[in-house]
């Protein structure tokens, strides 16, 4: 029997599977600002911690289960939306003494690599590496982020949710560096972020 048709069929099948694999879409999500919380805390004179948050943020992310290299997260925060429940302090934090929000209106994060590490107990965890640009200073940061859930929202939209905690040093971003010593305002800032995203389309 002539084997050529079998070989030909096998090649066609393999190519089809390959094309199918290459064409498997990653999922693109748009961050839901109403279900995004960005909270920070910083030490005050060794007496207490002051908590604050950024009230306005937006972003997008892509999750590609087949190819982690395509997974990415982009976040943009309005620096002027800083809120610590004290207007005088908020105005000072927004001034050139600290965040200089009128010169640097946005804080941005762009991931450069995302690696999924599945935990035995608990939600899958992503190790994110990316560039955080704050106060005009870009810095590479790394942190772990928990994937909390994937569900349909009340309106039938497909949603995923995430949670992460990280620590930054304000001096790394030249925020009040030298102006305020570390005993009066701590250098280490603890940041907690949790957000949901709504799937918008299959990413290219």
């Amino acid at each position: 029997m002539n084997a050529r048709p079998k070989v030909f069929a096998f090649v066609i099948l393999a190519a089809t599977l390959g094309v199918t694999r290459l064409a498997h879409p990653a999922d693109a999500y748009k961050i839901d600002p109403r279900h995004t919380s960005i909270i920070f805390s910083i030490g005050h004179a060794g007496l207490s911690y002051t908590y604050g948050m950024f009230l306005a943020a937006r972003g997008n992310y892509v999750i590609d289960e087949e190819n982690q290299a395509n997974t990415r997260f982009d976040l943009e925060i309005q620096a002027d939306s800083l809120f610590t429940n004290d207007k005088e302090r908020d105005d000072h934090l927004k001034s050139p003494d600290f965040f200089n929000t009128r010169q640097y209106p946005t804080i941005t994060f762009e991931s450069t690599s995302c690696t999924v590490t599945n935990t035995v107990d608990g939600p899958p965890r992503l190790h994110i590496v990316g560039t955080l640009t704050m106060h005009g200073v870009p810095r590479q940061i790394e942190f772990d982020m928990d994937f909390l859930a994937e569900k349909r929202g009340p309106r039938g939209d497909q949603r995923t949710g995430f949670f992460c905690q990280l620590e930054l040093k304000r001096s790394d971003f030249n925020i009040a560096k030298g102006l305020v010593d570390k005993t009066s305002v701590g250098d280490v800032v603890s940041v907690t972020i949790s957000f949901e995203g709504v799937r918008s389309s299959a990413a290219n």
Partner: protein, 291 residues
């Protein structure tokens, strides 16, 4: 204020300005040039000294990030323009004037570049704002440079130092300490030049004062909470302190002219200072939760 800040805000610029003034004599620099150089170098030294708090003053100077980081460059360019305009033969003195014009147009563009205003304004609004700011800086430079040096030769630098110190306080109370410190640096540089100089030449430092003090007022208005009214009052005080006397006043006795200059300088300063203090003392909005 910490000791290191006193050193950089006061002692360093004062010392550098005085040294440059004294060094100008054996070098046979003409007095206006020496004055302009001492104020400019004193200011630059003070601002770079403050930048050492972050540990990378040279990097800050070579690659400024914040708007105020461009002021040392602007001050040195203003110094070049001044030296060319007053000391160089033709046609180099015209080059100094051209450099001054480029500087007062480019400075607002640089200081507001990339800011929230740059993102928000339309092209027409940007053009209008830059034009107005350039005209204001240009008029300030012209007014301060056009004064006859013999008019209140010793009074004008003293008044200018007082005005700069009060501006430092007003700017600091308007929510930005770093700009207040830089105003203090300029006041110290002016003081160093005045103490070491036999004959002050305030008009020769018109460009340096306009670029530094004018820019700090501009920055405090756009990036902090200095109100437009207070900014206008502070600029008025600078012009009255160091600028020309109106022609109608010229025939008056010298003491009367001096007294009027002092009074008209302190008036807008006092109003701006009192308004700023009052705004800071205003009680915080009552909490809706506690009655």
């Amino acid at each position: 204020m910490h000791q290191s800040e006193l050193l950089y805000v006061a002692a360093l610029p004062l010392a550098v300005a005085a040294i440059v003034t004294l060094a100008g004599r054996p070098l046979r620099l003409n007095a206006p040039t020496a004055w302009a150089m001492s104020v400019a170098f004193g200011y630059v030294a003070g601002q770079l000294g403050l930048a050492t708090r972050t540990g990378d003053a040279l990097s800050e100077f070579l690659h400024p990030r914040e708007a105020a980081g461009w002021l040392p460059h602007a001050v040195l360019l203003a110094l070049c323009a001044t030296i060319l305009a007053i000391g160089a033969p033709r046609p180099w003195n015209r080059a100094g004037i051209a450099l001054a014009i480029l500087l007062i147009i480019g400075l607002p563009v640089r200081l507001l570049h990339g800011s929230a205003y740059d993102l928000r304004w339309t092209l027409l609004e940007k053009s209008a704002a830059i034009s107005l700011l350039a005209i204001a800086l240009g008029l300030m430079w012209l007014a301060l440079a056009s004064v006859t040096e013999a008019d209140h030769r010793r009074l004008r630098p003293v008044l200018l130092i007082v005005v700069t110190c009060i501006i430092a306080v007003v700017v600091s109370l308007s929510g930005v300490l770093v700009y207040g410190e830089l105003c203090g640096v300029l006041a110290a540089a002016l003081t160093g030049a005045f103490l070491a100089s036999r004959t002050p030449h305030v008009a020769a430092s018109a460009g340096v004062v306009t670029v530094s003090l004018g820019s700090l007022t501009l920055l405090s208005s756009f990036y902090a909470e200095l109100t437009p009214t207070n900014a206008a009052l502070l600029i008025t005080a600078i012009l009255v302190a160091a600028g020309p006397i109106p022609a109608v006043m010229s025939p008056r006795p010298e003491r009367l002219k001096a007294a009027l200059r002092v009074a008209l300088t302190l008036l807008p300063l006092s109003i701006a200072l009192l308004q700023t203090i009052a705004a800071n003392r205003a009680p915080a909005a009552a909490s809706p939760y506690w009655q």
